[in-house]
């Protein structure tokens, strides 16, 4: 096992979250976890197909960042590991599950699948199946905000865009090209790296000359921060600061969240390369258990209240599966629908 990086310490005393905020963050993370566990079950039961990438273990990053944003106004851009980002922005579990089942009630009408979740209503710019290709798209949404404000004189245009991607993706040119443009034009965007130490079977240290990704921000003159990605309160604090900066027109931030995926790269991955010791180190840092402990220690919630949330989420998931199962397939007559704008006026 490679030496683990020292995780930055976050003083939870300064977190200052209310009981309501704490419960909201907890519920969002539990929803993400339970949804993914159900996906694994449904995949093995032959209900969903293709490459399915689960987010277990990384929940604090999605929840910490997205739940610090303005729902339905700010933009979020994801990758192929996108189910939980979609849930955090508010796409109903029903429509995410239905998409995975390939049903017409899915958020992408059954045309996208696991790696291509979209929702214009929730300002989810999409899941992107190719490494790095979502970063320029997110940059475009951020550019659009600046354009509306400065070229069209719309004073209400202060939306922020958050763009999520993995450690492996930071070795791709689009990452550097977009960091440059974002800093150059001071675009309101957060580049959120989910450094889970692996890009399928490629260990991060074997792929990059400077493993501390947040440091790569400095050469672009942009703030770069590392954060314990297993601590939702720490992620939230860092995100809030970056969002405020972006909204104030002060430009982008690169956030490197140190995290870990608790499952293989995808459900097709035998996961043979990661050591037991490494996994155990990270399992012990489960972000959901961590928040639960904090909430109860601080008397923000009781065990029973947290249990009640878990039950409620289980119901949501069961209903989503039922919804997906009972939803119709797309109409074969609509095979060509959505190729061009005029096909669906």
């Amino acid at each position: 096992m490679v030496q683990e990086r020292t995780l930055p310490v976050f003083q939870t005393a300064g977190a200052n979250i209310t009981r309501e905020e704490g419960l909201m963050l907890y519920e969002d993370m539990v929803l993400g976890r339970a949804f993914e566990d159900k996906c694994a079950e449904m995949y093995y039961r032959g209900k969903m197909f293709g490459f399915v990438h689960l987010y277990n273990g990384q929940e604090a990053v999605s929840t910490g960042v997205i739940r610090a944003m303005r729902p339905g106004e700010d933009f979020v851009c994801s990758t192929y590991r996108d189910h939980v980002h979609a849930l955090s922005v508010g796409v109903p579990a029903d429509n995410v599950m239905a998409e995975l089942f390939g049903k017409v009630t899915g958020c992408s009408k059954g045309r996208g699948g696991s790696m291509h979740l979209f929702s214009a209503e929730h300002r989810l710019l999409g899941g992107y199946a190719f490494i790095g290709e979502g970063i320029p798209v997110a940059l475009g949404a951020a550019f659009q905000t600046k354009y509306r404000r400065e070229a069209m004189g719309d004073a209400t245009a202060d939306q922020v865009t958050a763009c999520f991607f993995g450690d492996g993706t930071t070795n791709n040119g689009q990452f550097y090209e977009c960091l440059n443009m974002a800093a150059l034009w001071k675009l309101p965007i957060l580049f959120v790296v989910e450094n889970n130490k692996w890009a399928i079977g490629m260990a991060h240290e074997r792929a990059t000359s400077q493993p501390e990704i947040y440091r790569k921000a400095s050469v672009f003159g942009m703030p770069g921060v590392e954060v314990d990605g297993m601590d939702v309160l720490a992620v939230r604090a860092v995100a809030q600061e970056a969002i405020a900066r972006a909204r104030a027109g002060e430009g982008p931030t690169l956030i490197e969240a140190l995290t870990y995926r608790f499952r293989g790269h995808s459900l097709a991955d035998p996961d043979e390369l990661r050591s037991k010791a490494e996994k155990e180190f990270w399992f012990a840092r489960d972000p959901i258990k961590r928040l639960a402990a904090y909430m109860t220690e601080q008397s923000l919630a009781t065990q029973d209240e947290l249990k009640a949330i878990e039950h409620r989420v289980q119901d949501v998931i069961e209903r989503a599966v039922k919804f997906a199962q009972e939803s119709p397939e797309p109409d074969p007559a609509d095979l060509y629908k959505y190729v061009f704008a005029e096909d669906d006026p």
Partner: protein, 327 residues
């Protein structure tokens, strides 16, 4: 009526559309201060500001993706490829995101954008600056492809492309920028999906586009003097192909010659031939003749370069042979 050079006709189209719709903007390398590599955007930044005529770093794939993201969120970007060939670096964003994203998203997003710029085989520019890209892009679902060929159609088509709600690849030819033509003073727009009957005739249908239209018309001058009467159609829309215009012409002439600058393998002519055989085989009195450029990188040497693309005398010969019943 004002005599207008083709590059200025394009500039007028962009200027008019930017004036009309504040969401329209131009981005690309040297489109602002420098005015574009062929001066199509000259001084527009002075009128519309540096955000609406955005000089980008040399990062084709990323600024193309940025245009996609801005189009998804309500703007109407016009990308200028400094040379269209450079957009090979943007192939991923053009194919996956501009082309397919609307479908993949189940109609969640539309992507109104234009990707335009100088292309085609220039004069001794060497292989990389003399590309025939339409062959590469034609397989991408969700893209429209248009090739302009005169100042008149350049302006009317570009305006239509900017207003279209889909991604449009708009091909200009480096050797046509200085063509001159009188343009109407009043505003006009041309449909993106319509071929243009350049010259009606009855002997043979010649299907062509972009610069080859002018090679064909040169050949036609010779042919008509000798009593031949070919029909010339400028495809304009390379994707989708306008069979509403092509079909009736073939039903009239029963003979087809395709003249293109594209490479032969997997080119526009290849697709066109296959589609004609699919739809109109019984109408044909002779096999479709495909005159395309050679399947080689465009050579630098001027003589070799001329051998690479179709020349007017070859078109004259081909028409005579076909109409004379020799093929």
């Amino acid at each position: 009526m004002a005599e207008t050079l083709l590059y200025n006709a394009l500039r007028e189209a962009i200027d008019e559309e930017m004036g009309r719709d504040p969401t329209v903007y131009v981005l690309g390398e040297d489109v602002g201060h420098y005015g574009g590599s062929y001066k199509v955007t000259k001084d527009l930044y002075k009128k519309y500001g540096e955000l609406r005529v955005l000089d980008t770093p040399i990062a084709e794939n990323s600024f193309t993706g940025m245009a996609v993201g801005s189009a998804m969120t309500g703007l109407r970007p016009i990308i200028e490829g400094m040379n269209m060939g450079f957009l090979l670096l943007a192939f991923n964003q053009i194919a996956n995101n501009a082309g397919m994203l609307r479908y993949t998203s189940g109609g969640n997003f539309k992507i109104p954008m234009v990707i335009r710029g100088p292309g085609g085989v220039g004069r001794q520019l060497g292989a990389e600056h003399s590309q025939r890209l339409e062959a590469y892009f034609q397989g991408v679902p969700g893209l429209k492809m248009v090739a302009c060929s005169t100042p008149y159609n350049a302006k009317g088509l570009l305006k239509a492309a900017i207003r279209d709600d889909n991604p449009v690849l708009f091909f200009e030819h480096v050797l046509l920028y200085n063509l001159k033509q009188d343009l109407p003073d009043e505003e006009y727009i041309l449909p993106l999906n319509r071929a243009e009957i350049v010259r009606p005739g009855k002997d043979v249908t010649i299907l062509t586009y972009s610069r080859m239209r002018h090679h064909v018309m040169q050949a036609v001058k010779t042919l008509t003097k000798e009593g031949y009467d070919p029909e010339v159609i400028d495809l304009i829309s390379l994707k989708p192909l306008d069979f509403e215009t092509i079909g009736p012409s073939i039903q009239k002439t029963h003979r087809v010659i395709i003249v293109e600058e594209c490479m032969k393998s997997g080119g526009i002519g290849a697709e066109l031939t296959a589609s004609i055989n699919d739809r109109l085989f019984d109408e044909l009195d002779a096999p479709v003749l495909r005159m395309a450029s050679q399947d080689i990188p465009t050579p630098y040497n001027g003589m070799l370069e001329n051998l690479t693309i179709v020349q007017p005398p070859q078109i004259v010969e081909a028409v005579k042979k076909m109409v004379g019943g020799k093929i």
